[in-house]
Symmetry: C2
Subunit: 365 residues, 2 copies
């Protein structure tokens, strides 16, 4: 099975290729792009141990000269220092403007490699080879790159489009179950904000909580439809001036929860799941969608093994306060994405702080 | 006197406004752009001492909330650490996506403020208020932003367009003469590569070596025609895929000389002047242009008080070697811009290393 999704950006169009066992063909997928011979393969030691040799062999077979660079896994290393180390490798290995940076790994590797590619020699070629479900359906598409500031996530970065996103769903077999579920949170998000049919197909599946629960066909559908949803949205709004904001469904309160738990207790997908539960409840209380829809959403989140409650250790007022430091604040107002039905959302900055507080309180476990 | 030059980039069009005493109207020039209320004014302490109050008063009068950030003057501070300090101010002052970073200063301030603007929250508004001739006619136009890597100049950066470039020629009265001349090197460059009429007008002037030598009218012409030349070229080739390379006339050997003298003995404009003399001589030896044209170029450079010889302390082989680590190297070949007449150049990577070496040797003083 394989799918190609064209991302139709006026200045920087590119393809997302989704095909089982395609990592072994990485070099062959890149060759038609006519890039320079030097590639910098950036990955974590863990991912490189499993997939590095396969990737390198395929690149060498296609005639590329491969230089490796490792970044330790995890958000802790998603900072300017790690970027500076990529620059050091780039200068030591004399990478040129025609060279290509390839991110082989999860979202953190992709975001950092993309930012380094965006800013090395004012921009070199960049290719995403995501190895987590979250990176496949979200981080690798849309051109957001960057690192964290000590005071906040992703505050430093650039919009920079890859030349290709190559997704090999079969690599998910080595992904820890908790990370698989984290990716499923974004998949469910696409079902709510854009693709009601995807939502229905997920509802129809008996089990969804792990890679082994899901048929190869359903996995291809999940990834393809999610990528298509994201590509549709970013093609219509590359720089997040308006529509693209809907991708932040579940992320407003989600980011606050991640931040207040120090980005460790709760991972990004789990935080988004909780954020969707909160946003869904806010929408119900504002009579934006029927409570039956909210229940369907929450049931699907539960079937995937994702959390639906807020840890009691977090102070509800702190969540409300944290919303105000988020990037998505405009003129001091907090912007929410709220569903009006399965498959459709609106953007609003008219949610009263008391309502946010009350919903957060209700979700405390 | 005032001129407006529209820079017609498809995605990011903007104006260059050139008007005497316009710094006192900075706020009024920005207001029509409908940006957010918060502005971050980045400058060096020296420039701020002279022009800071005027800029801030004008911004406050137009209703802006102004936050100051200082970067010590000079290339030494053009690095990632200084950028990180801008980020720290941005997070501490809660600058938003609608906020605006204003660079008030020379090229170093502009390049760094622009890079910070390009990468803070993945891009905030950016305005250039250049205070050196070099920054007015070159660095502030075209969207090149960035910082140095310990191993090379401007290796880290991004293409990022300002929303406005505001040039007040009257501020040049406080510019040291050596810096004024450095800017004139780029002006002469535009005469050679693009605007033969500008060259002729410069030839017609009796004296050119200092601000006080030049009439207000000629200064307005010099800045306007130079900005127009640069805007013409970058509009046709925003990302430096081809035509824009002609702006590097004199810069190939110039960069090598700057680098080998530690960016201190010889400044950028002086290095470009020497680089133009070298490129002009290479062109003559390759029979690309008549030796009379080379003599006219060199006379104009001399009239401006710029150097035309290479310090004997530099080893000629080191210059030839240094060319190979430059950003403009493609597949290992050094790219030269060579004149075919006053007002026209070609791009070539077919200059033999021996010829470069011999020309460098001839120019040793």
């Amino acid at each position: 099975m394989s799918s190609i999704i064209p991302v139709k950006l006026p200045q920087n169009p590119y393809n997302i290729a989704i095909a089982s066992n395609s990592l072994a063909q990485l070099g062959a997928h890149i060759s038609p792009l006519n890039l320079g011979k030097k590639v910098l393969l950036v990955s974590s030691p863990e991912i490189f141990d499993i997939y590095g040799e396969m990737a390198i062999n395929s690149l060498k077979q296609a005639g590329f000269e491969v230089i490796n660079h490792f970044i330790p896994a995890g958000e802790t290393y998603k900072n300017l220092d790690s970027i500076a180390q990529i620059y050091d490798t780039a200068v030591a290995q004399r990478l040129e403007r025609s060279s290509t940076f390839i991110a082989l790994g999860g979202g953190v590797i992709g975001d950092m490699t993309g930012f380094a590619a965006a800013t090395w020699l004012r921009g070199v070629n960049f290719i995403q080879v995501p190895t987590t479900l979250l990176a496949m359906v979200d981080a690798s598409i849309g051109g957001k790159t960057g690192v964290n500031h000590p005071q906040g996530k992703n505050l430093i970065g650039a919009f920079y489009q890859p030349r290709l996103v190559l997704i090999d769903p079969s690599v998910l077999k080595t992904l820890p179950v908790r990370e698989f579920r984290a990716g499923m949170a974004e998949v469910i998000k696409y079902g709510i904000i854009w693709d009601g049919d995807l939502f229905t197909q997920l509802e129809a599946a008996e089990k969804l909580a792990d890679f082994s629960d899901i048929s190869e066909t359903l996995l291809q559908i999940i990834i393809t439809r999610s990528c298509q949803a994201k590509a549709d949205v970013v093609s219509k709004d590359e720089k997040e001036s308006n529509l693209r904001a809907i991708l932040n469904y579940g992320h407003t309160i989600g980011h606050a929860i991640e931040s207040l738990t120090g980005y460790s207790l709760i991972n990004h997908g789990e935080a988004v799941a909780i954020g969707m539960v909160a946003a869904g409840k806010i929408a119900t209380k504002l009579n934006l969608w029927p409570s039956e829809a909210e229940i369907r959403q929450n049931n699907l989140i539960q079937k995937t093994g994702l959390p639906t409650t807020i840890p009691s250790s977090i102070n509800s007022s702190e969540i409300v306060d944290a919303l105000k430091i988020d990037k998505k604040v405009k003129s001091g107002k907090v912007r929410f994405i709220l569903p009006t039905q399965i498959g459709q959302v609106i953007i609003t900055d008219e949610v009263p702080s008391e309502l946010i507080f009350n919903v957060v309180e209700e979700l405390k476990r």
